[in-house]
Amino acid sequence: MMDGGATEAQRYVWEGAIPLQIHLHESEVTTLPPPPPALILAPRIGYLPLLVPLIKPHFSSALPPGVDTIWFDYKGLPLKWYIPTGVLFDLLCAEPERPWNLTIHFRGYPGNILIPCEGEDSIKWSFINSLKEAAYIINGNCKNVMNMSQPDQVELWRSVLSAGNMEAYLRVSSKLKLGTVGDEYTVKPNSCSLKSRQSTGETDIAGSVKTDRIPVRLYVWSVSEDFDDFEDAPQIDSWDKISYINRPVEIHREGKYFTLRDAVKNLLPEFFAVKPLVNEEISSIQVEDVQRVPLEDASVEDGEEKSCDVDSCCPSDNAEIKLIRIQGIEPKLEIPFSWVVNNLMNPEHFLHICVCVKVPQENNM
């Protein structure tokens, strides 16, 4: 797909932007009246500090003297600059707020929480290191990224930096041979041999058997109280409320296509467990079933869904998945995962998935 030009969805992702209303933190206001907030359109695939050259002139006259160490917060939560802006928005604004009101700080960098940011170089290398990681996950090495020519590297970064030239991005990124996930509708002849690799904890012989590994960054926000509307959702006031799971999803084909549900189940098996039965033996078998993800596909595709829907799914201990959001949309779980990956991944080839789960208080330890 990537090779033959962009799909419509890819274009939407690439052009997606979030209107920001940026306020200068009151402690840094030195003028009266305080400067009005800055309005700016932030590309979803971009990173907040990249906006600084646009924002700073707006506030520079109001700033106290000193050296800038710029960072942003949303309702007091310092924002991690290495998470793409669109992901931050999806994660922290369960009920989308437009414009998104952020606060900018030019002083007092919270170095105990945030990684220092030395401007564009930090972001560029964070991006490239992520790209390398993705390449390693997909190909088992990062040679193509390491060997990228200097002009290609510059072009790739420039296209991301401005979220501008998508064709340029596709041209360079296709050289990295990170490919796209194969068409899941067809069964690969050697698919059966993949089974053993997943289930055993034995030493893997990566390379001898090819499994598609998809780079995924999963952000899980767990809430303890229930709410009907995301407007009533509690505020995320600490990163400790977010579990960050950086684990590739391995696609196993066993005659059926691999859905987004399978992928999420793979990452968060606890939320897809079938209600435990009284009989201990039976429930232990079911637990096994959950881990061998593809086995359950059969029933999903036949339409007789044994495992439950996202809203009604009832994993152990009444925990439930309340929301799955990728690139601002809440895709149906029946969508082939290959489509999700190929169309909704970020330019560093990671698919960022935001999940909100409800975990009842008594299980919160």
């Binding site: 991690k80 290495y82 170095g111 105990n112 929480i113 945030l114 990684i115 220092p116 170089d121 290398w125 490239i128 290191n129 390398k132 990681e133 390693y136 996950i137 088992g140 090495n141 990062c142 390491m146 904890g201 034995e202 030493t203 893997d204 012989i205 990566a206 390379g207 001898s208 780079p215 899980v220 767990s222 990163w239 400790d240 579990s243 960050y244 799971i245 950086n246 684990r247 590739p248 098996p269 606890e270 939320f271 881990q291 994993p315 152990s316 201990d317 925990a319 789960v357 975990v359 299980n363 919160n364 330890m365």
Partner: protein, 324 residues
């Protein structure tokens, strides 16, 4: 030395740039010989607490200095941790080392065909390797600060995920100026900091599910708790690392979020690890003879990676045949 040659030929230098390679002038073996000069005697800072953590095998609620606290744990999702502090005046405590060979290690020995091995390991193998490493360290270096396994589930509902990553941790203090790579400092200029300032290093070994290899995370701080910036840390490092740090600012050691503690730590980039691990095993007749023994993985790995940060492995740790 065969290993060193192999590593050189295959770009090991690029991966971690130990200038002397394994057997070279400033290489691993050479450094091993000079291990632990009298000025770097080390004793466990929180020994009782740490060893307890390990013996309980990650099955208990524990609180580390990183405010990491959680309930139900299983072996597969945790990390091993220890703490050390260097001081020339402290005597080494003698402590009973665990009986060897350890049952768990032996029963889980998984030799495999080395020719098809790609240098990576699975998370459960990492767990085995980590436990073997912790045990071996304990028995070989009873006087050194132990490494210990620290469990860290992602969340309460993550208690028993099979593939959750694991982590080994180790922390220590280095007396500033006592590492042998450093030139003697002009006493007239910096006599106070030279003799009194102690730098503490925490080392964590975390399994990366992306690269399928262990990754070294560390942080450094002064004795008063003030974190050290990379410029200061660099001065504690072996000369070669400091140089490489300068040359490859963004791809060698960078600050990144600790995967479990969600705080900025320093991380050694792992993208060449599987390549040189494979070479290391291929090049060592005693290792390749028995196939890829997972138990040796972390020792071999740390013997290379440790050099980058000046963390030395006692030579006995590398002695494979004596115990297995």
């Amino acid at each position: 030395m065969k290993v060193a040659e192999l590593l050189f030929k295959n770009g090991f230098k690029e991966a971690y740039a130990i200038k002397g390679g394994i057997g070279g002038k400033d290489g691993w073996r050479a450094i091993q010989e000079n291990l632990l000069p009298p000025s770097v005697h080390i004793y466990p800072k929180k020994k009782a607490k740490m060893s307890q953590q390990f013996e309980m095998n990650g099955g208990v609620n524990q609180q580390s200095e990183n405010n990491y606290e959680d309930g139900s744990h299983s072996m597969d999702n945790g990390y091993v941790k220890s703490s050390m502090e260097s001081s020339p005046k402290k005597k080494l405590d003698s402590r009973s080392s665990s009986p060897y060979p350890n049952v768990v290690m032996v029963s889980n020995q998984t030799p495999m065909d080395i020719s098809s091995w790609d240098g990576t390991l699975s998370s459960s193998d990492f767990c085995l390797a980590a436990c073997a490493f912790v045990e071996k360290w304990k028995s070989v270096n009873p006087g050194l600060p132990p490494w210990s396994w620290v469990p860290c589930p992602k969340s309460p509902w993550f208690a028993s995920h099979e593939e959750d990553a694991v982590e080994v941790s180790h922390s220590g203090k280095e007396e500033l100026g006592c590492s042998e790579e450093e030139e003697p400092i002009d006493n007239a200029l910096s006599v106070q900091s030279y003799s009194h300032e102690v730098h503490c290093y925490d080392f964590h070994i975390v399994y990366s599910t992306s690269y399928r290899v262990p990754v070294l995370y560390f942080r450094a701080y002064c004795s008063d708790g003030q974190p050290l910036v990379l410029d200061d840390i660099e001065k504690d490092f072996p000369v070669n690392s400091a140089k490489l740090l300068l040359e490859s600012k963004w791809t060698f050691i960078t600050q990144e979020e600790h995967p479990y503690l969600n705080r900025p730590w320093y991380k050694l980039h792992p993208c060449g690890t599987n390549e040189w691990m494979k070479l290391l095993f291929l090049g060592d007749p005693s290792l390749s003879r028995i196939g890829v023994a997972i138990e040796h993985y972390l020792v071999s790995w740390l013997s290379v990676v440790g050099q980058v940060v000046g963390l030395k492995i006692p030579l006995e740790m590398l002695n494979n045949s004596s115990h297995l």
